[in-house]
Each structure stands twice: as C-alpha cells, then as structure tokens.
C-alpha cells in the first residue's frame, strides 16, 4: 500500500520538477533582467514594469522578484544571493543605510557610466545624499523618505516647535481628556529607533558620528536627547508600550484618534486619508521639534536602485532603472501610493500639489534631511545605539551611563575596524 503511494508520489514529484525545468528552458529572445524589491515596492511598481516591458517588447524583459515584506529580510536575502554568487538578480532596490556596506564589498557597481552631473542636479538636494560611497554614485533614488511629525489640526492651532512645547501641549490635551496619549513614535529595538533618535539628537544640537569621524554620543546634548525620550514615557505622554512600537503600531494608535502627535514617514499620510481613518482631514504634517536656537532635522530614509556587479546586462538594467525613476513614474507613484518623489521638478507640479497639500512640507523636510552615518559598519553602530536606547527607554539603565557605554562600544567597533584596515 505504502509503496504504491510512494510510487505515485515519486511520479508526481518528477512531473512537478520536469514542468519547472521546461518552464525555465523556454528562453525568449529579449534580454532578461531581474530586479529584487521588498514586496510592497514590487506591488506598487507592477504597472510601471508592465509598461516598460510593453515599450521594450522584444528587446528587454524585466521581471521583479518579490522580497520579504520586512526590509531587513530583503537585505538578508540579497546578501545571501550575493554570497551564493551566480545570482539571478541584476537590479537591487536598496535602503540608504545598506549602500556603504554593499559598495565596500564590491557587490554593486558604480554608476559613473550612466550618471552625469546634470542627472544628479535633477534630484532634489536632500535626496542627493546617501547614493554615493567614496565619491562615486552607486545608487539611483526611487523614493525619498523623511521622518515627519504628524499633528492633529482639530486639537491645536499650531504644531509645537520645541520638545518642551510638545510635552506641554500633550499633557494639556491628555488632562482635558481629548486624547489618551500625547505622542506616539517608534521605540522598539530596531532600526526605526535609530532614526527617531537621530532627529531628536540633532534637535538638541548633538551629533552621532561627526564629519571628522568622532563619535559624540556621550556629550551633554546626546544625554539631553536621551533624557527627553525617556521623559516622554515617564511623564505618560507616550504609552509605555511605545518601547515595542514600530511604524504600524504607532500609526494604528494615531489613526484611531488616540494620540495628538505621531512620528512617522510620509507613507502614513496616505493611510490617514483613507475612509476608515478616524482622523481623516484632521491631520497636519511638519518637521520634528528642536530645541530653541537649533534647526529641526528629518532622518533621511530612501530607497534606490543599484546594479549588481555580476550582472551581464548592465546597460539594459540601467534602462529599466531610469524608466522606473523617471518623472512620469515618480508622479504616478506619488499620486497612487504617496511615495515621496526625488526629482526636484515634481515638487512644483500643479497636479501633484492639488492632490496633496503636504508636498511643500515634504520638500521642506527634505531640505533639512540628515543621513545616518555613512560607513560600511553602520549596522553595528546602529545596533549598539539601539540596545542602549532600548535599555534607557525600558528603565533598565540611566541615560548618562547608557550613552557613555554606547560611545565606548562604538569607538571600539570603529577602532577594530580601523586596525584591520591598516
């Protein structure tokens, strides 16, 4: 009985496999190129890719590999496929913080051949950052991302400008029973926490890794910034659970009208305008608070395309990239999905301005945007910072102690990296 069943299974397996093999060997004439993107980007660019393939019929055929939804898993997948070598991927959509790492390992190729100064100037100044490594362009931006402060227009006239004002307004609204929480943000131990911190840190006049490659995490301003984040929780302006919030949790709370402020990326705007949102038309967008005499800062996120070194069809790949990042494409992505464009021209586009009142705010935020430290060992540095911050936010560690230990660990990492390099 079982043996009979097994035989059936074997035949079935062989059938499946042969159909896969046949499917693969059926080669067409056009140049095949493949792009790996996180699943949400694969979904939103689907129509553009189709259009591109229509226009290049018989010449180039672009297929998109859906990466996992979680961006870090996309990186894992990309890295493993590069370790595997012989990867089927030509184009990789990468996050701003991965670039130095990938460029240093030589996995992605510089874009000098295709990109000139004119092209770079067509990009809005904020989004020009984070595409190069050692003065060579390695990435072409698709969508800009900046940290924003969302505020409730129905609860206040003006958004707060300083950290103290934010707490004061929050407390007032909470005491009046208008909102449950004052401010929700991303406090989970993950990359988002580093983004949140960078904005606050700069807002207090501090810095993470300065231009002369010195860490400044144990300085007064850094400790002040850390203290402020902790105070948000102890003063109950932010819920305790904020220490496990990433973007969706913060959005969920803000969406139900339970919070007066939220720190999030531009994508949240489109979500908040959906008919299911309880704060539709009641939300304004501005830049993060900063201490008096300090300029506010927006952490620069952003996704862009890179071409893998091992790709055999780099020219075709570039053609696809320039199509997907064209003004037309960016406009479509903005109107349909709220993706912040990177082309400077689009910020004056009348149709787009009509559609979205926040476009000028996005432009403003982009002008003050700040990239995270640009080094191949960024992931380690960020990890150290996240650990220490998380320990402070959950009340495990005193802010000053934590920042000193973050400083020491970061210096050690940089030191051992520098020693190896020499």
């Amino acid at each position: 009985m079982i043996i009979k069943k097994l035989k059936l299974i074997i035949i079935f397996t062989l059938l499946c496999f042969s159909s896969i093999v046949i499917g693969l060997t059926d080669t067409n004439k056009p140049i095949e190129i493949n792009a790996l993107m996180p699943a949400p980007f694969a979904d939103s660019t689907e129509r553009l890719v189709e259009q591109f393939n229509q226009e290049n019929k018989g010449k180039i055929h672009l297929t998109v590999t859906r990466g996992p939804r979680e961006t870090e898993s996309v990186s894992d997948m990309a890295i493993s496929s590069m370790i595997l070598g012989n990867s089927p991927i030509d184009i990789l959509l990468i996050d701003v913080t991965w670039l130095p790492k990938y460029a240093a390992t030589g996995w992605i190729s510089p874009l000098d051949e295709w990109v000139n100064d004119e092209d770079i100037k067509s990009i809005i100044s904020g989004a020009r950052q984070g595409n190069s490594y050692k003065n060579r362009e390695f990435r072409w931006p698709l969508v800009a991302d900046i940290g924003l402060l969302y505020w409730r227009k129905d609860l206040m006239q003006e958004p707060p400008k300083t950290p103290d004002a934010l707490i004061k307004i929050s407390k007032k609204l909470q005491n009046e029973g208008l909102v449950k929480y004052g401010y929700v943000w991303q406090g989970r131990q993950y990359e988002g926490l580093s983004c949140v911190y960078l904005e606050v840190l700069k807002g207090f006049g501090g810095d993470w890794l300065d231009n002369s490659n010195q860490f400044r995490l144990d300085e007064k301003s850094s400790i002040k910034a850390t203290n402020w984040l902790r105070e948000l929780i102890t003063s109950e302006v932010s819920p305790k659970a904020v220490t496990n919030f990433s973007e969706p949790e913060a959005l969920q709370i803000f969406e139900t009208g339970d919070s007066a402020f939220m720190r999030n990326w531009p994508y949240a705007w489109a979500e908040l305008q959906k008919p299911t949102s309880s704060v539709k038309d009641k939300v304004g967008v501005t830049t993060m608070v900063a201490d008096t005499n300090q300029t506010p800062t927006a952490t620069l996120g952003s996704w862009g395309f890179s071409i893998l070194k091992n790709s055999n069809n780099k020219d075709a790949a570039w053609k696809a990239i320039s199509y997907l990042t064209s003004e037309q494409a960016q406009k479509e992505l903005f109107l349909k999905y709220g993706y912040t464009p990177t082309k400077a021209k689009l910020f004056n586009d009348i149709e787009m301005l009509e559609m979205s009142p926040i476009l000028p705010e996005l432009e403003k935020a982009l002008q003050i945007s700040e990239p995270r430290p640009k080094t191949p060992i960024y992931a380690q540095l960020s990890d150290v910072l996240q650990r220490e911050l998380s320990a402070v936010l959950t009340g495990q560690k005193d802010p000053q102690k934590a920042m000193i230990s973050a400083q020491v660990s970061s210096e050690n990492i940089l030191k051992s990296a520098g020693e190896l390099r020499s």
């Binding site: 896969i20 979904d43 990433s246």
Partner: protein, 271 residues
C-alpha cells in the same frame, strides 16, 4: 468522567486558542483588527483570503513547491537512512555504539548555527535556486534522527526471521526489500512525517538558498505577503495565509496521527 472532560477542554483550549485567534483575525477587516473585542460594523470580510488567492504567483504554487521539497527530502532521507540504519544494527557493536553517539550529537545540533556554512556549500556546489537541491540539506539534516529511529525499529525485528531469509538464499538487498523494509513500515511512515513536517516548515535555509519567486516555499512566501507599504504589517492577510497554509498539515496530521504515534512507540528510545 466530568473531570476528564474538563481536562480535555483545557487541553483543546490551550492548543487551539492561538490558532482560533488566527482564524478569527483572518476574517476581520482592517479596522476591526484594532478593536478586536468591541462590536463594530463591517467586522467580517473575505478580503484577506481573496488577496491571497488572487496574488501572482497564486498561493497553491507555494504549497506545491513545499510539497515537492517536502516529498523529495523525505524520499532521499528514507533511501539513505534505511540502509544506514540496517547496517548499524548488523555491524560490530563498538563501531555501531560510537556511530550512534555521533548520530545523536548530530541530531541534537541546533541546525540554525550551520546556515552560514551551508550557504557557502551551496555556492561551491552551485545549488542555489533549485528546489530539488534544497532537499539535500533538509534530508542531510534529518538523516541522524531518521537513522536512530529506524535502527531501533530494525533491532525489534526478531533475528530468526532474517536467518530464515538467509537460508532461503536471499542476498542482503533482497532481504531488505522483501523481508525487512515491509516490517518497519510503521517506523518509516512516522519518520517520513517528521522529515516532511521539518522540510515543510524550514525557514532560514529556504530564505537564503532560493531567490526566484516562482520557486519559494510556503514559509518564505508567507513572509513576503505585503501590506500597502514597507512599514505596515498585514496581520489579517498573514492570518489568512497561515490558515490556508496549515490546512494540508492539518489533513496530514488527522490522517496519519496513528502512524506518527505508533512509529514513535517502536522508536529510537533504546539508544
């Protein structure tokens, strides 16, 4: 009797409740998710399921991929482990004993720690992006446990039976094929199910070895379900996918639960 029922209900609640919550979540609309215990309008929806079924490539493709990997890994494991287990029971005891200890150590090894070396292996042997190649690490990782389980099943077969077969003039291969393998069928079945379940659920290796979307297995596919942006976690859709993805396993467990248990009864435990 009443006490017994009470315990059974507790047991079922414990093991089913998280799953029922997934089921419930999978039918909830986005806004209903946020207030799970309050009554609101428009709670129920089939959207989550429709989104999965209408996705491209369709959901059944991943089920098929997992099925292919699972069956091939299971077959390879059995083909390799049955002779090995047999030889262990017939070899000199010192060698067999030390082999058994090594196998136990290997079976206990937390395989996650091997993923980096396995990735290098895949590069050197050019095994990336190949569904059937994925069954090589799966079956290799399951071999130790399989050999242990099967060898004790062999040990349970009375010696006389095999001696009679030798007298009948059957060679090793014939003895295995006609006499011994049929006798260990229950153990083979339960081993097969253990291997199958492992391969069906494995994540880190599947994620790193396969990058072509038409070849990915179910757990990886589920991790690729996306909401409207990189930041949103589509819990409802996930729940729907996990419900659909567990139906095959539910069926397997319902059909084969006798074999799973009886196979273990004969099991390796004497080692």
């Amino acid at each position: 009797m009443k006490r017994l029922h009470f315990y059974i209900i507790i047991l079922l609640t414990w093991s089913m409740l998280p799953f029922i919550w997934q089921l419930y979540t999978s039918f909830c609309s986005q806004e209903a998710l946020i207030s799970p215990l309050r009554t609101i309008d428009n709670r129920w929806t089939l959207d989550n399921y429709l989104r999965i079924i209408n996705a491209d490539p369709p959901f059944w493709k991943y089920l098929l991929n997992s099925l292919v990997v699972g069956t091939s890994a299971t077959l390879i494991t059995l083909i390799i482990s049955i002779p090995a287990a047999y030889s262990l029971t017939r070899l000199k005891s010192a060698f067999a004993k030390s082999m058994q200890l090594l196998l136990l150590a290997a079976a206990l090894f937390p395989y996650v720690l091997l993923f980096l070396a396995l990735l290098e292996l895949a590069r050197n042997l050019n095994l990336g992006n190949n569904l059937l190649a994925l069954s090589i690490p799966y079956s290799a990782l399951s071999t130790p446990l399989a050999v242990l389980l099967l060898s004790s099943a062999f040990r349970d077969i009375p010696k006389d039976l095999e001696e009679a077969a030798i007298l009948d003039g059957l060679n090793t291969w014939q003895r295995l094929k006609w006499v011994l393998i049929p006798l260990i069928t229950p153990s083979s079945a339960s081993t097969a199910i253990l291997v199958f379940v492992f391969s069906w659920n494995e994540y880190p290796i599947a994620l790193t070895w396969i990058s072509r979307s038409e070849l990915i297995t179910l757990p990886v596919a589920i991790s690729r379900i996306a909401g409207s942006s990189v930041y949103s976690v589509p819990y409802g859709t996930y729940a729907a996918a996990s419900v659909l993805g567990s139906i095959p396993l539910l069926l397997i467990v319902l059909i084969f639960q006798k074999q799973i248990i009886s196979g273990l009864t004969q099991g390796a435990i004497k080692g």
